[in-house]
Structure formats: structure tokens, C-alpha cells
């Protein structure tokens, strides 16, 4: 397990590099094919988490992120007419994301999984920027900075977790390995993140909150589609 985490971390750094990610995925696949010999399921200290457990963790994690973003949003109240007058343009708005249940349920598992990952990746860079940005805002209370940082870290962790679930599902044949084929579009995330930097703070946090909710919803849908027997 630790090895996978390490791998994820290593894959985080060369994030924008599509080939790198593809390689990492390939490596991941190869590794998944030969399960790690370090841990056996019977080892007490080294229990392999099941897919539902991983999903539950990811869902809880995303829920926590969502709660944090809700709290953080209170610090960035929009200007009076901002809410009404102008429609927010989230940098992730260009992504085609299912916006109702049926759509989400119809979406292929691989695509939904990929969408989740993509959403998370799309926010990693802007969140770091946002953190740096609000550090300079003196009118913000310190705790909001803490929350923003926490959110940023948690998004990283969540992405790691989702990747892990993905990997596991692929190894189990729950989803096809066609995921890597979609990685090419990841290049777009850079431009998206640039766009994110153009948003106002309140828009930014609002959009992030919305996307964190999306991620959680998609994770739930995905989980219940894959394992309908597990408290769904």
C-alpha cells in the first residue's frame, strides 16, 4: 500500500506531463497485475482495503472537503449584486459534467471515474494559487487560510485515493483499462487552471464548493453503481 502511495506522489509532481501520467498509469497497471508481495491479506498490520472501503473513504473525504469549502465560502461573501448580476464562470464549466442523476447514472463508469479525477486535478493547481493569493489578503481571518490550506491538501489526498480506487477497480476488472486513453485531455487542465486564476475569490470558492459536491455525488453514484449491495 505504501508503495502505491509513493507512486501516486511521484505521479503528482509531473502532473501536467501527459506521457508521464500515461507511463505512471501503465506502471500502475503492470503493478496491479502483479499484486504486491509485501502485504498479504492475512497480515494484520497490512490489510488490503476493499473497494467499497476505499470508496467510503473517498466519499467521506470529499464530504469533508465540501464542508470545509462551505465554511470557507462564508469568508468570501459576494458583493451585493454579484450573485444576481453576473453568472459565474467556473473554470471547470467547460467540462461536461452530468448535472442530474440520470445523466450521472448513464455515464460509463470509466468516464465517471475519469471525470472525478479530472475535476480533482483541475483544482489542485488553482487551489495552490488561491492559497498563495489569500495569504496576502489581510482582511481574512487566519482560520480561513488554514481551511484553504486544508482543502488544498485534502484535494491532493482525495485524488490519490481516487486513483487508488481506480487502480484497484481496474485490477479487479470492474472498470476497463481504457482510462489511460482519456489522459490526453489532461493537457487542457493547465489552461483551465489559468482560467481559474482569473476568477474572483468568491466565485472561486463557490465554484470549488460546487465541484467538490459534484465529486462527492459522482463518487457516491459510482460506488453504488459498482457495488449496489453496499449500503446503497
Amino acid at each position: 500500500m505504501e508503495r502505491t502511495e509513493l507512486r501516486v506522489r511521484s505521479s503528482d509532481t509531473p502532473l501536467p506531463a501527459g506521457p508521464g501520467a500515461a507511463l505512471a498509469l501503465l506502471w500502475l497497471l503492470g503493478r496491479a497485475a502483479a499484486p504486491p508481495a509485501v502485504c498479504t491479506p492475512r497480515d494484520a498490520g497490512c490489510r488490503l482495503l476493499s473497494v467499497p472501503e476505499l470508496f467510503d473513504r473517498a466519499i467521506r473525504h470529499s464530504g469533508r472537503i465540501h464542508s470545509l469549502s462551505t465554511e470557507l465560502e462564508k469568508y468570501f461573501t459576494p458583493r451585493d449584486n454579484e450573485l444576481s448580476s453576473h453568472a459565474r464562470k467556473c473554470h471547470t464549466a467547460t467540462m461536461l459534467t452530468p448535472n442530474d442523476k440520470e445523466f450521472a447514472q448513464k455515464m460509463p463508469r470509466e468516464e465517471l471515474t475519469y471525470l472525478i479525477l479530472k475535476l480533482l486535478q483541475a483544482w489542485k493547481e488553482p487551489l495552490s494559487h488561491f492559497n498563495q493569493h489569500i495569504e496576502n489578503l489581510q482582511e481574512l481571518p487566519g482560520e480561513s487560510l488554514g481551511k484553504a490550506k486544508q482543502i488544498s491538501n485534502m484535494v491532493h489526498e482525495l485524488e490519490t485515493g481516487v486513483e487508488k480506487v481506480t487502480e484497484k477497480m481496474q485490477s479487479m476488472g470492474i472498470i476497463s483499462n481504457s482510462l489511460h486513453g482519456m489522459a490526453s485531455s489532461e493537457a487542457a487542465s493547465l489552461s483551465i487552471s489559468n482560467e481559474a486564476n482569473m476568477m474572483s475569490d468568491s466565485d472561486f470558492i463557490h465554484c470549488f464548493r460546487r465541484d467538490s459536491n459534484k465529486v462527492q455525488s459522482y463518487l457516491k453514484i459510482l460506488k453504488c453503481r459498482i457495488m449496489p449491495e453496499n449500503s446503497c
Binding site: 442530474d100 442523476k101 457516491k220
Partner: protein
Amino acid sequence: MSELPGFYTAHMPPRRLPEGPLDFCTSLGQSFPGKPKIIRCRSLEKETFSCWWKPGSDGGLPTNYTLFYSKDSEEKIYECPDYRTSGPNSCYFNKNHTNPWTTYNITVTATNEIGSNSSDPQYVDVTSIVQPGSPVNLTLETKRSANIMFLLAKWSPPLLADASSNYLYHYELRLKPEEKEEWETISVGVQTQYKIDRLNAGMRYVVQVRCTLDPGEWSEWSSERHILIPSGRSPPEKPTITKCRSPEKETFTCWWKPGLDGGHPANYTLFYSKEGEDQVYECPDYRTAGPSSCYFDKKHTSFWTIYNITVRATNEMGSNSSDPHYVDVTYIVQPDPPVNVTLELKKPINKKPYLVLTWSPPPLADVRSGWLTLEYELRLKPEEGEEWETIFVGQQTQYKMFSLNPGKKYIVQIHCKPDHHGSWSEWSSEKYVQIPNDASLNNSICFLDFRVKDMIVWIILGVLSSLICLIMSWTMVLKGYRMITFILPPVPGPKIKGIDTHLLETGKSEELLSALGCHGFPPTSDCEELLIEYLEVEDSEDQQLMPSRDNGHPSKNAKITPKETDSDSGRGSCDSPSLLSEKCRETCAFPSVLQTQDVRDVQEKKAGKRSWETQCVASERKAHLFNSESAKSSTWPAVQLPNNQPPMFAYHSIVDAHKVTLSTTNMNVAAVLVEDEEKGQSQYSIAETVPGDMEKQREMENLCSKTEQTIVQVKQNRSKEKSPFLDATLMDYVEVHKVRQDEEPAVLLKHKENSVKTEKYTISGASKEYTKVSTVTDHNILVLMPDSRVLHTSVSQEPAKETSQNLQQGQVEKNMSYCLTAPSDCRRETSGSEYMDPSSFMPSFK
């Protein structure tokens, strides 16, 4: 109308109770009722009237109110004809009881168990109290005729109890703009509608009406009615979007509140646009969710999109749009309340009962897809309680409640909410659960059980311990003597006969003796002398002789005991000097001797003591035996084995025997024991066999002496004391014991009489004869046979207790026989000295 005999004048003062009972009653917290007060009397239409009263203070008891009235034209007093029509605390006088030309004197009396109290009288002239009710059904309407806007007000006359009658009312109408204070009052006349013009368009007005009958007061104003006078050119008021809600995170509905339409029906249109889109859509469905609502079905519902919603009201005069309402459907999810809430009270064995709540998510919510996750919260309170206890449950759909107060009825409700966003549903319908008292009962029973068990344990412990104590004390009493000798071994003192101080010391031993039954031997001077002599003799003697003494002593004791028993019988014991006869004297001397022996034995030697003890014990034993046997002749068969009969005594005797044997000789203790247990006789035999010839001889002597003594006693008793049967019987018993102890001789007897012991007893009647015979002849069993007259005598003397006497005699006989069996030397001694003189006993004792 009921006539009240007590009240003949209308002006009779209200009845009051004296103060006394009031005080008395107030001390109990109850009193007669307070004074009621007639509030008003009113006639709605001059043909009937009603009176209302206010109850006085409550006396703490149910109170009855009675209204009495009289008319000025007559002196009769009547009671209220109708308490119900006009409501509580009222009296309704219908047409038959209402006379407009009469003045009524009305009094209300409150009565409870303790007493009554009456109001001040009220004088009523019906004509002057007329006040109609308010007009009803006031409606307002704006009308337009000839391009002139006017207001049409319509109403109905007041309601009457008697609906059939019609009265002519005069009406008044008043109106004012909503925001103003002053009313404009218009006299309407007798019509029930009125047209109002000259109203300001676009203003809201308030209208009321009232009425009056020709004479009398105006009614109250009717309830207010509001109306907006439309201006004619202005559009309807703008509606307000009140709420948007998605019950299942798939569809949503928005509701609005219409503004005043200004008298013109308005159409309402909902428009919405989505975030990031410029296009404006109209509500897809106005009907599904009811009036003034818009339902967005799944197709029209997007998430993570903000809806901008406005409602526009339109009429002929124009339109007005609401403020925009922004909706992110994700955050307006408010589920329906959970359903299928069930409360189940579980009562596991040995555990506290608990409540299991189960419920289902609202049917609309699709929780299985993962799209909507619900969290639950429940609340409960006792039925009469004020504060709810709220418990967040999480995503599970059941909950167990443990800490509920038994005997209370709880109200439980549950609501739910999507996780992380949305709002709580309404509370589910109230569910009641009665926490049974028997739960607590069970508990208390358990508790009680526990306590009872505890109690039982303690009681058992107490009983046991007290029993043990009892047994201990009993044994102490019985064996105390020995025990004390064990614990406090007697200090062997110098055997100086003259020391009285030791005697004083031996007070303890005296007590013990008394406890053992050896009590009550106040040493007489004679006895002391005797004792001293005796002591001297004892000193000289050896321990070896002890067993023989023991054996011998009982016999002597037996003599003594009979006298004790005599005392029981009423003659008085040897202790009581008055009863001491010559022969008694001798016997008395004997006990005294014993006592002195005790005293000095302690001083002298253990051995001596023991011998004494044995004596004492023997005496006790016998005494007891006497008692018991005298009481029940049936016990006799058991008497065979003297040791065994009364177990305690038996023990004593046995132990004594052991001691004796131990102290005296090298005899086999075990053997002795066994034999003792088996038969008392064996002791003697062993004693005889083991010790030297001397011992044997002495024992034999003792035995002989015993027998002799007994015989003597018996004779004495019989001869001297005819009346005391008991004594005789007792005596007999004693003798019998001896006999038993000396069972070898008994065996001998058997040869002659019967092979079986029981038979012996039966034959014992004949044994009396033997006793005499024994006196006559020394040796053989055959000797027993010839005696017959003694029996007769005994029978004549003691007809009732023949059997016992017989038995005794038989025993005596046995003794005799034993004596006979004993060596000839013994014989001689016994025959020679011991018969007559108690002093002769003494040496034999030794």
C-alpha cells in the same frame, strides 16, 4: 319553575355561612365557594334575555351554581329555566320567562359540599338591557359601474338562539383606510348592504358593521374586513417567491404568494433562467404542485446550476414581477419526513428494556443510487414534557434507546436531511410509546429479588449463627463443666480439708453444677462434716478406684435424684429442709457430700474431680431421665441403654466413663467407648475385668452398694411415700438405669424372664416382685421369680403408674441380679452395711 320554600321574599339577603366552618375548612384547604357575581344581563331582542355571572373563588371543591329569581309582581322564587343555551355560567330566559314589564330580582348561589354563597341581587328590566348581537357574514366587493369604482358591503343580521323570529335591526357601518386611525361611521338603516363610493383608488380599507334594535344598545362591531380599492390603472401587486424545494434531489418546486390583485383576477407566470445561459424559460408545470407553484421535473432540473427565477403577476391593468430568486437545487433539497416509523420495546432477559426505533427513508428519496444520502435525527420527550431531546443518528435507519423512564409515555419524531447540504425535513408524525411500568417492576422485582435474596441470606446466616450459638450454649450448659475443666484445668491444691477459701473459689463450679442439674445442694453442716470425712477417705484412695466410683456414684445419685424428683412432685427436694425426713436426711447428706466432694476435689485432684463429675453427671442424667420418663412411659424401651436414651446425658456418661477408665486404669479406652455406646453394662464389665482384683472387688462393692441403695430407696419411697407416684416412678427409673448399665446381670435376668429386652419391660410388672425377691435372695436369677406381693402393693399404691413402677422394679431387680452376679464379697458388703446407713454408701463410693 320550582318553588323554594326557604325563600319567600325577593329581597332576602344572600345566604351566608357562619365563619366558623370557613376557618375549619380553610385549614383543610377547602372552603365553601366564593361569592359569585352577576356580570351582566342582556336581551338580544327584547323577548328573551340571558344573564351571565362570574364564579367566585373556588373552594377547592366542585361547585354548583344556581340562579334564583323573583319578579316584582309576586313573591315566589324561581330557579333559572335554562342554564345551557347561553353557555357556561349563564341563564337563558326564553320568551315564556321573559316579561318586558317586569323587574326581575336575580341571585346566583354557588354551592359546594361545605356550603354555599350567594351573589348580590341584580335587578333586571328587560327593556333596558336589550343589545343585539353583531351582524355577521360581512363581505366587501369593489364594483365598477359607469366607470365609477365603488365598494359594496353586504352582511347578515345577528344570529339568534331562536332562528324563527325576525327582528328589524338598524345598522351602522364604519370604514377607514388601513393606515389611518379615525373611523368614518355611516348610518345604514335597516338594509343589510351598503354602497360606498368616494373611495381612494389603490388604498386598502377596513370595514365593520353593527346593529341595534329600536330601543336598546348598539351591538358590538362585527369583525373587520379588508379590501384594496383598485386604482384602475395599476398592475397587481408583485408576488413573492416564498420557497423552492427539492424533495428528492431530482425535481424541485417553487411557490409564490400572490399580491393583492386589486379586484381583478391576475395571471401568474414563472420565468427562470439558468446560470451561464441567457435564455429565459417559462415554468414547465404550473399544476402538479398545486396553485401558485411551479414544478420542475427531472428534465428541467439541473444540479450545480443556479436558477434565476421570477414570477410575474398580470391583470388587465398591467403586470408586476417578483424579485428574482436564485436557486441551486443542490442546496434546496429538503426531503419528506421519514416513513414507517416503528417503535418497538424490547425486553431482553436479565437486561433493561430498551426501545428500538426503525424507520424508512421517504419514499421519494432514491437513496440506493447514491445520489442522495440522508442523515437522520430523532427527538423525543415525555408526553407531558416541554423540552425535546434530540439525537443525531447519522445514516442508519434504526436506533436503540436505553435510558427511558419507565411508566412514561414518550413522543418520538424523526426527520432527515441530505448529508452536507439541504435542509431538514419536517418531523415525522408523532409516535407514542408507553414505557411500561412492568419494566421498572421487573427491575424492582430484580432489585427486590436481590434484596430478598440478600435478606434471606442474612436471615439464614442469623438463624444459623444463633442456632450455633444456641447449640454452643446448650452444650456449654451440658458440658460446661467439662469444658471449663478443659479450659481452666483445676489447680491441684493441697488437700487440706479445712480450707474454706477454696470453697469460696469453687463458686464457679457450684454454678456449673447448678446448671448441670446438680444445683441446689446447700451444704449443710452435716454434709460438710460428712464430706470432710469423705474427702479424707478419698485422699487415701487411688485413681484406679475411680471408675468403680463412677459406677457407684450414679447409683447413689440416683438416690438423690429421686428426691429431687420428689421435690418436683411437690414433696420438696432434699434441699428443702422442711421435707427432709430421716431417710431423706441420709440422702441429703449424700448430695451435700457430693458437693463438698466437688469443691474439694477441685482442690485435691483431677481424678477425684472426675469421679465427682461422673457422679454429678450421672445424677443429672438420672434426674433428666426421671423427668422424661415420668412424662412418658413410652420412652422406656429406649431407656434400656441409659447412656443412649437422652443423648446428651449419654455423652456425658460415656465421656465420664472414659475419663474414669482412663484415669483409673489401663483399660482400653476404645473398647470402653464402643461398649459404652453399645451398652452401658460393658463399662462395668471392662472395669471389672481390666483392673486388678481389688478394683473388681471394689467395683463390685460399689455396684452392690448402688443396688442396695436403690433398693433401699425404692423401699423407702414405697413405704413412706405412698402418694407420690412420680417419686416412685422416678426412683424406679433411676434404678432402671443402673440396671441397664449393668446389663450383664440383666442378661442373667433374661435367662429367667425373657430373652428379649422388650419383654423384660413387659415383664417388668413381675419384676417388682423380683425386687422383693432380690432383697430376699442374693444370687441367682431364679431368685427374681418368686416375688408377687410387692407387685401387688406397688400396684395398689400406684395404680396409674403400675407399668413404670414395674419397669423400675424390673430394673431394680436387674440391679439386684447384677449384684447377684457380682462376687460374693460384694454381696456381703452390700447386704451388710449399705442397706441401712448412708454413711455406709460413702465408703462404697470410694
